[in-house]
Symmetry: C2
Subunit: 341 residues, 2 copies
């Protein structure tokens, strides 16, 4: 059995969504158990007598808008998020899923679950949609504001293992997000990272990728620092949302548009579905001793289900152990210091 | 008369597009003259006897894919781009429009037209579409890979003048692109820039803006370093293009979709037009002694027309002199060095 800890209070909708997502996952996967962390009374309302689900009551919830995540994690040991992570640390569960505050989850995972010995940074690595419908990995989208080239290399190795074992790609390629395709483009960090990625035998380097190619590039993994990755992800989100609004405005602006809409309602629905984060699931936090999946704050039942599906797949594929094996083959960068906090 | 120098050989299509765009502009604006720089034989084919247009023959063209722009500008003094800029430097024309290689144009403008005394950096500042259809200024999208906070302040002052005089905004607001809205977010450069923008009496500071708000934020100007701005612009372009492709695929995938398309063809056309760069025009290069407009490499006739329209408006509004007046009121940052090259 794969044992998953779910922060039932996390996200904008709490147990009304998280518990239903959990029940859907139990139905689909006979090899998992789920432990729900949160307010027992609120959770029980949604349970319907399943045997593979248990509740651990928690007294507090870390606020979605938490501005001081370190303080929150230290002071709210009785919160659903902290207790869920602690259960993984204590070996009671194999992986955590939470739709709670992102930075609190990153900090909590650092402090409680801890980083893998060989990883000097963690990263937030969502799977983003692509024109070929296969999806690709984008990282780091915000766990680190600044990263050094050697951190990006470690994270590229991690992403390669995920792309192989989870996305089932054969020799997955890693692209470096940059402002030009030629070698030598970008900031100092980009140039040095280019060299590391090019030289490493542990990854299949694709080269620089300009950000207008994000949906269309053939490479499986797109890597950059956490500031840039966050900007890319949010620009994609904002553009998609604004274009959706513009399309709605233009369609609604004439009778012909409205009639046309009736004919292509299904087509537009499929179009929206291709961009819907709920269909893809959560964001894996790379670099930790156990899998931690961050589901989107606005997750619906399907998004929670998909995040649990991902957690199960990561445990089943033994991804963290495989990453360890790869990192042990990496040249030593110890001259730049192991700043494990 | 406002005298505009046009690099007739620049862009993917050369004189077949640039000359036609110029003729369109002459028709529309009775107060401009246009001097075309390029191959006389090629240009003459498209001329139809207008009196306010002249040709200056040039022997070479700077390649669109030029990888060493400094060398190109130094060695190709007989190129259409260099000769067009030299004519402005010599006082024969008031502004330059070119759809040629971006970095060559930026470097050439630096070396030939020179930076304004008070500006320590130039920047590429396009006007991007917005949901409210008014457009906003985004900068820097790639003239500088790295910028210092004081450079960003100077550029914000420049953009404020453009937003007032060209976009006709009353007390235009400046937003700093960042990974969170709260003060203290981002990298060191972002934190320091936030402080400068907040304290300056010469601009109306809006605060941090996350990039998912790029189409919807109420602020008139979005500022960041050239690496980040380039990534934002290209992610917007790539997302819009990919979404257009997905929409086409889904519409074409069923009979209902195709019928619906016939009804809403006009609506979809208007939607595409709202995102079309040709409708907006070129990218102004900020910080120079005369206006230089970079038209998109793939410019069509309309895009060239619009870039000429912009050049005329910048000269007419006397933007560079107004920026000078503002910069003279700015506190002195001379301790950080005037690195005019």
């Amino acid at each position: 059995m794969i044992k998953i800890a779910l922060d039932a209070m996390g996200g904008d909708f709490g147990p009304s969504v998280t518990v239903k997502g959990a029940l859907k996952a139990l139905e689909q996967f006979s090899d998992i158990t789920i432990q729900l962390f949160g307010d027992q009374n609120q959770i029980e309302k949604y349970l319907t007598g399943e045997s593979r689900i248990t509740i651990v009551h928690s007294d507090s919830v870390i606020d979605m808008g938490e501005q001081n995540p370190v303080r929150a994690i230290r002071n709210q040991r009785d919160s659903s998020m902290v207790m869920a992570m602690q259960s993984v640390k204590d070996g009671k569960n194999d992986a955590v899923v939470s739709a709670g505050a992102t930075q609190a989850l990153v900090v909590g995972a650092h402090l409680i679950i801890r980083r893998m010995e060989k990883m000097r940074r963690v990263a937030l690595a969502p799977i983003i949609p692509s024109l070929d419908k296969r999806g690709k990995i984008l990282l780091d989208v915000g766990a680190n504001i600044e990263l050094r080239p050697e951190h990006l290399l470690e994270l590229a190795i991690y992403a390669t293992v995920v792309a192989e074992l989870y996305l089932k790609r054969d020799k997955p390629t890693v692209g470096l997000i940059n402002i030009g395709v030629e070698e030598g483009k970008g900031r100092e960090i980009d140039k040095q990272t280019f060299n590391y990625l090019k030289e490493s035998k542990l990854i299949n380097f694709f080269g620089n990728v300009e950000s207008q190619e994000i949906f269309t590039t053939k490479c499986d993994i797109l890597i950059t620092d956490g500031f840039t990755g966050n900007i890319v992800l949010k620009t994609m989100e904002g553009t998609a949302k604004a274009l959706g609004e513009m399309l709605k405005e233009e369609i609604g602006s004439s009778f012909g548009g409205k009639i046309g809409y009736l004919f292509m309602k299904k087509n537009l629905g499929r179009f929206a579905k291709r961009l819907d984060a709920s269909e893809i699931g959560g964001t894996l936090i790379y670099g930790l001793n156990s899998p931690v999946i961050k589901a989107h704050g606005a997750s619906n039942e399907l998004a929670i289900f998909n995040a649990i599906r991902q957690a199960r797949a990561f445990v089943e594929a033994n991804i963290i152990e495989k990453v360890s094996e790869h990192l042990n083959q990496m040249p030593d960068f110890s001259e730049v210091g192991d700043d494990n906090k």
